[in-house]
Symmetry: C2
Subunit: 199 residues, 2 copies
């Protein structure tokens, strides 16, 4: 299974204190959200291959915090950060401890809320994807669980130039991994590195 | 000032439990020391530019743990890991809390032991380097102090494919940094990324 993540040079995928106004958390004053978005903006021809790969999957998995800022009970309406027609155009399985009915959107995206763990989410995503790929989108809390369980084959990191110093960190609490560097592509705003996870 | 460091994909420059037998500490069983050394082996034409840059400096700074495995008092002879003729061919300033006489070596290297802190080491290294560059060699404990003090202009990271999960980590405890990606070069065993530290 493939996993994409944009990280700071010190390995964080989100700063502390995520809110609706600052979905990626504190940024140390250096435009973390801007840098994070810049490399995959629509106009970014330089990074076209990486962008196309991310959205080519036929089912997606994400953590509840990536889906939105609501914590605890679903006590207010929230349909994700992406408007009425999200860019996934496929089923998205959202890990959470708080059950919720599926949320269909325009353009083929449906958000399904999975309360029985990462393996269940993966099974359901694989079924939904058929012959297509499943992509784990993040955040790091979700990815680290899949890494620790040995369920990720390929890790595509997009390293942006700044450090956050604190937040949710990729690889935190994950036992040592053997990796093979499959590809590495230097763009102007970001360095892309693809690892195969060997064990 | 320039700083080179080889790090794992999760940002460590050394594993836990450094010993004389395992100068880079625990490696999670995946040949961390081998991977670390592989990219700058003499025969590595692919990485020639990065290797030449490291050794071009006219004075070097390192921490006492990079210099060797002796801790506490200097209670046994130790002249570094690099044999009688170390690859520096210039003064090397070793940060430590334990005073020791300078240690001259063949080929122009002299190890000086600096007990009055990072700024003193830098002043002495700058004097020794004259018009040449000063290079901070590591480990991460030393580099993080210089980063936190705003004394590093350029950070050249060499990212090798494995994770360590624990050890001494670059950027640990360093406040958020604004970086500019100056260059990034993908070799087969390693990804080199050069950052300018903006603040
Ligand atoms: N840099 C990037 O490329 C990138 C990518 C994705 C996201 N992000 C950012 O990362 C942040 C979110 O990441 P995160 O690491 O904080 O969280 P996350 O992985 O998105 O979500 C974690 C939450 O998902 C639920 N969850 C996770 N595993 C579960 C399990 N096994 N069983 C049941 N529920 C589970 C829990 O929510 P409940 O217990 O509350 O239900 C948990 O608190 C956001 O700021 C987002 O914008 C960045
Ligand atoms: N990956 C790489 O490229 C790379 C590069 C270099 C080193 N390494 C590895 O990293 C490890 C060493 O790194 P490290 O981070 O553990 O330690 P380090 O930075 O090499 O050395 C730390 C030690 O230096 C002394 N020191 C540091 N700052 C000082 C200050 N301001 N004043 C006085 N003394 C000071 C202290 O020793 P005392 O208090 O005992 O005197 C301290 O414990 C080794 O395993 C080495 O092989 C890897």
């Amino acid at each position: 299974m493939i996993c994409n993540l944009t990280i700071s040079a010190d390995g964080y995928s989100a700063g502390l204190n995520q809110t609706e106004e600052r979905p990626f958390g504190d940024d140390g004053g250096d435009g973390w959200a801007d840098k994070l978005h810049a490399w995959y903006s629509e106009s970014s021809e330089e990074n076209r291959e990486e962008i196309d790969q991310i959205l080519a999957a036929k089912a997606f998995i994400m953590g509840r915090n990536m889906f939105g800022p609501v914590r605890g009970e679903w006590d207010r309406p929230w349909i994700g950060w992406w408007g009425d027609n999200p860019p996934y155009h496929a089923p998205v399985f959202v890990l959470t401890h708080h059950a919720r009915e599926p949320q269909p959107m325009e353009g083929g995206t449906t958000f399904h809320f999975v309360t029985d763990g990462i393996e269940s989410a993966l099974t359901r995503a694989r079924e939904a994807a058929g012959d297509g790929d499943v992509a784990i989108m993040g955040g790091a809390t979700t990815i680290n669980q899949y890494l620790a369980a040995g369920l990720i084959d390929e890790l595509r990191l997009h390293i942006v130039p700044l450090t956050l110093g604190a937040g949710t960190r990729l690889f935190e609490g994950v036992p040592p991994l053997k990796l093979e560097q499959v590809k590495s592509h230097s763009a102007s705003l970001v360095t892309h590195v693809t690892y195969r996870v060997l064990s």
